[in-house]
Symmetry: C2
Subunit: 232 residues, 2 copies
DNA sequence: TGAATGCTTCGATTACGATCGAACTATGAA
DNA sequence: TTCATAGTTCGATCGTAATCGAAGCATTCA
C-alpha cells in the first residue's frame, strides 16, 4: 500500500527556501563556499552548514574541500535540469544572483593560494599544462606525465626531491576567483618558488598578491603558451 | 537581498509525502477522483482535499468536476517532466500504482452516465464523432459541426427540438472507467434515447448497465466506424 | 606556539503545516 | 421527500524541522 517513491524527499530538500536559494545560487555552475551560500540563503553559517549536509546527503550538491574552505557545486547536470524545470513551473521567474569574488583586481590576476600560484595566471598555467599533456587528470586526481616531468625539470625544479616528500605531488585546487582549477600540491608550491627564484615575480606577504615584473610576465606567457617556440 | 525565486514553493508542494504520492499516481496520465487520490496517498479525504486545493493553487494539477465527482489530472506535460526528473534524482525508483475502475466488466463496457452513454462504447462513439469531424473540440467546449448536424439528423434525432432547450447541446464528460471523454449534454442524452428507441440496447435501471442486443451491437459498430459504408 | 578564519556540532526554541474528527454542502438515487 | 455518497471547511492537536547562540574542530598565518 505504501510503496512510496522517494521523490518527496528530494523535493522536500529543494522545497526549503534557504536550500532553494543555495541551489539557485549554484545554478550558474560556479562553486561557492559554505559561507557564501549562507549569505545567499540569508541564514547563519550554522544553519547553512546543516542545510548543506542535507543537500549533500540527498545527492544534490557535491563538496570539494579546499584547506579551510569548502566549495559546493551542483552534483550533476541532472540536478540543474530539474531545477531549471522547477523554475519553469514557478512561472519563469528565474532570478540570477550576484557572483562574488576578490574585491581587488590584482588579487584576481595573480595571488598566493596557501603556497602556490592562483588567480587568472594560476589557472592559465594549470590549463596550459593539461592542454600540452604535461598533466593528466582522472577525476579528482592529477598525475604528472613523462613529458610533464621533462617540462618541470627543464624549468629547473628538482623533481626527485619533491617525489621524496610524503606530501602529494600534484593536486588540483579550485580557484577562488576563477572558479576553475589550478595546480596545487608540492609541485605547485615548487613552481611558484621557482618563479620567485627566477625573479619573474615577487609575493606581497601582506596582501597575498603576486606581482609579476614586465620581463617575468613575458617569460610566463611563453611558459604557458599552448605551442612553445620549439614547436611553432 | 531576498529576491527569492519561488522554486521553493513549488518544490515544497511536491515535497510532502502525501502530495508526492498523489502526483506520482497521476503520472500515468489517468485522471483520479479526490477520494481515489486520498487512498493513494494514505490519508483521509479531508486531508486529501486540503492537499489537492494546494496543488491546484500551485498549478500542478487541474480539476475537472463531474457531478459529485472531482477528477484531478496533472496540469501539463511540464509538470510530468519535472516529476520524471525528480524520480530520476531519487535514483530511479519510479514505482507505479494500481489503477482503479468499476468492478464489473459490463459496467466498463457500456453504462448510463446520468442519462447518456458511457463506458467503452460511450468513448468510442465520442471519438468516432471527433475523428469524422462531426464534433469539434476547442478546449473544454464541444460544438456540433454542419456535417455532425447531418449525422445526428440521419440518426433520427430532432435536432431543432434539442437546440430549443436551454441546456447545453454538447458537452464532454470524463468517463469513469475509460478516463477519456464521452459525449454528454442534451445531444448525448438524445443519442442514448434513440439507441434505446431503435431497440439496439436497453438500460438496466438497477445497475446502470446498458445491455446491447447482438443486432444492436452490429448497428452501433457500423455507426461508429471510422469509414462508414457509403464512403468505403 | 598563539591568533584568526572557515566550518561543524550541540541544544533549545519556535513556528509552520500535516493530520483528522466533526459538521456542512452538493449532487445523485430511491 | 429521504438517504447515500463525494467533497469541503473548521478547529484543535501534534511533530517535525528550521533557526540561531555557544562551543568545538580544523586549517592557515605570523
Amino acid at each position: 500500500m505504501k510503496n512510496g517513491p522517494d521523490i518527496a524527499q528530494i523535493a522536500a530538500l529543494i522545497g526549503d527556501p534557504a536550500r532553494a536559494n543555495m541551489l539557485t545560487a549554484l545554478m550558474n555552475g560556479i562553486a561557492l563556499t559554505a559561507t557564501e551560500l549562507a549569505s545567499e540563503a540569508g541564514v547563519t553559517v550554522q544553519t547553512a552548514s546543516s542545510h548543506l549536509s542535507k543537500l549533500q546527503e540527498g545527492g544534490l550538491v557535491a563538496p570539494r574541500k579546499q584547506g579551510r574552505h569548502k566549495y559546493f557545486s551542483l552534483a550533476s547536470d541532472d540536478v540543474a535540469k530539474v531545477l531549471e524545470g522547477l523554475m519553469g513551473l514557478a512561472s519563469g521567474a528565474g532570478h540570477l544572483r550576484t557572483r562574488p569574488g576578490p574585491k581587488d583586481a590584482a588579487l584576481r590576476k595573480a595571488r598566493v593560494c596557501y603556497n602556490h600560484l592562483a588567480g587568472e595566471m594560476g589557472t592559465r598555467l594549470f590549463e596550459s599544462m593539461i592542454t600540452r599533456q604535461f598533466l593528466r587528470s582522472n577525476g579528482e586526481d592529477i598525475e604528472l606525465t613523462v613529458a610533464g616531468a621533462g617540462f618541470v625539470r627543464d624549468f629547473g625544479i628538482d623533481l626527485d626531491a619533491l617525489k621524496a616528500q610524503r606530501s602529494a605531488l600534484c593536486r588540483q585546487c579550485l580557484d577562488w576567483s576563477e572558479r576553475r582549477s589550478h595546480l596545487a600540491g608540492s609541485l605547485g608550491r615548487a613552481m611558484l618558488g621557482r618563479i620567485e627564484e627566477l625573479g619573474w615575480a615577487r609575493r606581497d606577504r601582506k596582501t597575498r598578491i603576486v606581482v609579476f615584473s614586465p620581463k617575468g610576465k613575458l617569460h610566463f606567457d611563453e611558459l604557458t603558451a599552448s605551442w612553445p617556440k620549439r614547436l611553432g
